[in-house]
Structures are given as C-alpha cells and as structure tokens.
Symmetry: C2
Subunit: 364 residues, 2 copies
C-alpha cells in the first residue's frame, strides 16, 4: 500500500529557501507585481515546496497553471486593488481585484484571525480572485495564533458529479489546521476529488494503469487508462464510484462551492478564466474551553491514532500533516528539493526576465 506517488522521477536538487523566494518574487516583480505582493505570492509557493506539495510550489510559475503566462496575457491583474466590502463581527467579504489569490487570501485570513480573537469565530470570504496556491497555507496561518483555521476555494471545472460525465466543478479543496499541545498540529489539506491530475500524470509517464475510480473516460465511467484520463480530464469525486459513496465527495465539493461561491455572490462553478472565490474560517479554541484542556485532548487524539494497530502489511497509522511536517524539517535543514526540470524552467524564465539563473546548493 502506498500513501502517495511522488511526482519526482529524477533525484532533486536543493535550493536555499530564501534565495528561491527572492528569485521568484523578483520574477513576479518583473512581470508587474508590486514588491510586497510579489513577496507574499512567492512565500506561499515556497512554503508549498517546503512541505512537499510540488503541484502548488514554484513549478506553478511555468506549469499548466502558468502564473507567468497568466500575467503576460493580462489574465491576472498584476496590481490588484484589494477592497474590504463587508466588515461585520462574524463575517467579512473581500474583493481580490482579479489578482493572485495569495494577495487577498493572506489579508482576509489575517483579518479572520484578528476577529476570531475578539469574538471566537470569524468567516472571511474573498471574491473576484484568482488561484491562491496551496489552500493549507491559510489554514496553517491559524496555528501561529493558537487557533483552528480552514481555507477553501472553488476552481475551474475538473470533476464530474456522481452519475455525471462532464467535469462541471473544480477540485474544491478543504484545508483544516488545528494546533495541539506537545504533538505536531493536525493539518489536513485535500482536494475533494479522489485524486489530482498530477498523480495521473505520474502514472502516465510510468506507463502504469490507474486505479479504477480516479478518473472517467468519455462515457463518464471509471477508466484504468492514464492517457485516456489525461485526455478526457474528468476526475471523480472522493469516494470514486456510486457504490463506494462518491455522492459524499461530490456533496463535500458542493459544500465548498456554496461556502465560497454563493457567499461571494458568485460565480458558481466558475468556467476556466472566470474569477474564483475563497472561504476562510478562524476559530479560537481558547474561547470554548481552557486552552490547556483543548491541547491535552488534541495530544490524546493524535497519540491514540498513531498507536492504534496497523492493518496487515502496513507500517503504522499516520495523522494528517505528519508527512508534510517531516518533509518541511528536511527542507529547512538541507534546502528545498526541486526537480531539475523545475530549476531549468525557472532559469529560463529568469533569463527571459533578465534576472539570471538560480543558485543551487552544493554547486559552489
């Protein structure tokens, strides 16, 4: 049994995190962003790489999502005006000005945390926004404040509903972080689809069939053909098939769609190129219960899960976030591991923008 398939086929090279952040931020500035915004966007991407979430890391500058292309084609507003349009005790609404979701996202989540510190809970909605990177970033922001955080976004179509064959909604992620006491925090960051396209791409490159239930063929039924799945581009909801309760994954995706899109005033299930909306929730556990009691309960939960008997052939039970924290410790100690192709792509972009190439650790 495998937890996940790595996207990295070749041995990674290591890059200093601050150097990488400055490099990406400088590239974003050359592409039109204000310096402070460029730094924010770069930090969200680099944190994804620190945690091993390559799909939302600096590769997004050039990959299919293609931030550089979005900026060059004017499809992302480079210098968005961020406006707070609703300011209530429990709810705020933000307009992202059509720019990177990281810019409005970090501001909205910070505000949610400030307000939750006063009232116990706050919801911040961001509308008229663009891709916000790794959803987990915003949930993780809560941990520094000793709070519980939730971040979600709607997204362009990629997933078919149960009984459907068309990709009508997005991978609509749920990221949820909760601090513990002496244990590492619980950090869940998941798409509500069965898997992401990136994982299917890895199987296609290796010539392996994909498990039935990851993606549909043109008839809307599960396919094992990775190449057909990439051509069709229709993921299945978490739960995969009706008999394994895919209506639940589909329902959770709609829960996210409603919290993001409907509370933002639309659009729902935004077509490719349309603005997206984000949902941020902050809860201050210390306002419900003594913080020491909360922390003791969290530690008890996490320790009991890790100590529970593994299934035949499995090593042990993991908790959400464990793998990413381990990856992060390694990246902090030894530099951020990047696929050589990503470094080559970034260097080409750096060349185009006149900022040269990246320094790789061990190169000196």
């Amino acid at each position: 049994m495998e937890w996940a398939v790595s996207n990295v086929d070749e041995a990674p090279v290591r890059v200093d995190a601050e150097h990488l952040t400055v490099f990406v931020a400088t590239a974003l500035e050359r592409l039109g962003l204000r310096p402070a915004d460029a730094r924010t966007v770069a930090e969200v991407m680099v944190e994804a790489d620190r945690r091993g979430v390559e799909s939302h890391g600096v590769a997004a500058m050039m990959s299919q999502v293609g931030y550089a292309r979005m900026l060059r084609e004017g499809r992302y507003e480079a210098q968005p005006e961020i406006r707070q349009v609703v300011d209530r005790a429990g709810i705020s609404v933000w307009d992202g000005g059509g720019g990177f979701g990281m810019i409005v996202g970090v501001r909205a989540m910070r505000h949610a945390l400030d307000r939750a510190a006063e009232h116990g809970v706050h919801i911040a909605i961001a509308r008229n926004s663009r891709h916000f990177g790794m959803a987990g970033y915003y949930a993780l922001m809560a941990l520094e404040r000793g709070m519980i955080g939730w971040a979600s976004t709607n997204a362009s179509p990629g997933v078919a509903p149960t009984f459907g064959r068309e990709a009508v909604y997005g991978t609509n992620p749920i990221a949820f972080a909760a601090p513990a006491g002496s244990e590492e925090p619980f950090v869940l960051d998941m798409a509500t689809s069965a898997v992401a396209f990136g994982k299917i791409g890895v199987y296609a490159r290796h010539g392996r069939p994909i498990p039935l239930g990851w993606a549909g063929g043109p008839d809307g039924l599960p396919t094992a053909d990775a190449h057909l799945a990439l051509d069709t581009r229709v993921l299945m909801p978490l739960g995969s098939t009706p008999e394994l309760s895919s209506y639940k994954g589909y329902g959770l995706a709609m829960l996210v769609e409603i919290l993001c899109g409907a509370l933002a005033g639309g659009p729902m299930m935004p077509p490719r190129g349309a603005p997206v909306s984000h949902f941020f929730l902050a809860i201050d556990p210390g306002q419900a219960v003594e913080l020491a009691d909360y922390e003791a309960q969290m530690d008890d939960l996490l320790l009991r899960l890790k100590a529970s008997t593994p299934a035949e052939g499995a090593e042990r039970v993991l908790v959400a976030g464990e793998r990413e924290f381990a990856h992060r410790r390694d990246a902090v100690a030894h530099g951020i591991p990047l696929h050589p192709q990503i470094v080559a792509d970034l260097n080409r972009l750096g060349g185009e923008l006149g900022i040269g190439g990246m320094r790789v650790l061990g190169d000196e």
Copy 2:
C-alpha cells in the same frame, strides 16, 4: 448503478406522523422524560422517518442503539439539566447533562441561529451529551431562518483509520444545509465512513457480497464477506482504500472529532458508553451578500448540476437532499412508511409501558 440499498425488505405500512410522534413521546415520558423533552426527541426521530433515514427514525427506540434500553438501564439521563457554560458572541458551549442529544442539540442550534442573525456566524458546542439522532435535523433548522446550518457529532468507535485495523473512531457525520431561491435547498447528511453498518446488514440478509472498501476483516484489509464485516465491525473511511485516498475520509472524520470533542474539552473518540459532543455552525448568508444574489447563485448551481450530462447508463445527476425531499413529500401526503417489524416492535414497547398499540393508516 444504485444510489442506495433500501433497508426495507417488506412492503411498509403507513402511520400518521402526528400519531407516531405522540406515541413515541408518550413512551419516552413513561420511560422518565419530561413531556417537552419527550416531544422534542420524538420529533427528531419522526422527521428522520419522514425523510427516509430509517436508521435514525423511531426504530432507534428498540434497535441496537436502543433508546428504551439506555433509559431503563440509566445510561441516558432521563431528565438532564441543560446548562450554557460559555456565552460569547461567536461561540457558546452547552452541557447536555448526560441526556438525549436532541434536547441540548435543538437548544444549542436555536441559539446558534439567534446569534448568527446578530453577528453573521455562530458556533455552538454541546458536551456531555448522548446520541442526537439524525445530524441533518439540526442543519435543516437553519433553513427555516434562511441560514446555512452545519451539525456534526463524534460517536463511539466503528471506523478504522487509513492503514489501521482497529475501529478507533466513530462515523462522525457532517450535515450541511443551505437554502436556495426557487430550487429546493441543498442538504448533505453523510457519515464520514464509506457506508454505515445498516447497509452491510442488508447485503448480509440478501446473501450478497459487499463491495471491497466498505469494511475490513480482522486483518484490517477490505473484505467482501458481509457476515465477516458485521462480526468484525470495522468500517472503512470515505475513500475506502489508500489508493482511492481514504486518508481524506479519515481526515474529515478527525476534522469532525476536533470540532466536536476538542472544542468540548473531550472526550476524544469516546468509547462506547462515554458521553459524546456535538458541533453546530450557523451562517447568515444575507450578511455576506445580498440575499437575492445568494439565492440566484444557489439556483444556478443546482440547476446546472441537474442539467449536466449523465454518465453512460445513469439517468441523471442528483443533488444532495433531493431524494430525501421526495421521500418527505410522499410521507406528508400518504403517512410515514414504516417496516412492519418496526411497528410490531413499537407495539410491544407500547404494551410494556401500558400505552397500547399504534394506529396504522388504512386499518380502519
């Protein structure tokens, strides 16, 4: 493809809803409940039967959950003292006094709705409680107020984490209701396990193998043997297997566990017989966006989903709650359908408590 397998093997009989409510409430009074509390508990059960959620309907009086037994054995406090122990703008905490979760649940959710009407959002936590019936009931309460509602609870062990073989946590449901405009509301009410035990029982009675991924055998690996699954009593998380991303279903169950148990100050993953905790969330969409815009977006979402192209062999795409609303319309028009065995069991209970038998529609 089938959406669900009915628990009803024999043709149901029909019972008048108000008659059933009074019958069950009277039985609960004879078992020690105060009249108002008995009515509340009965109403939650009868609403489950109205919506076709038999597992949380009046059958729970005598089934494995066995409310009558719990009361007779003093394991549920018949006349709990409900206390509000935290009263903040955004968060309230309630002590259920060890009684039926419906009693504290209805009060806590009503309070959450009142507070959300003032501040936009409110979270109510109930601790020291017992089984609260159908989670959807509390989420549905939000619809009458034009609000979005969420209800969850932790529960005694029945599900194994990914890579585990022991049932260490409960079916930890997520119920989420959101009003629409002219369309019926969106109502998701799901266990975070792949399925519930009731569904496996139906397969066992019919001698059918269960799909791999519903439940584990003693080795923690998926079994197709319905009888073995019922003996082992270890459900799998939504997602079923590691390769179909069961860590997501497991993670969502822990999200529920944290929102309920940790915010209540424990216990986490309560063992059978221990008190459970509930989480209620109310959001007033009219405080984020013009209500007319919210409703228009919801209608757009639901209509586009229903109109999307079905998969090969499927009739059409459904939205969460559709089936239950259809069941409810039928039950309101023709009486509540109950399995004859449930009616027989209730009549036996009525005999024991000296309140006689139930009147069945069409019997006159």
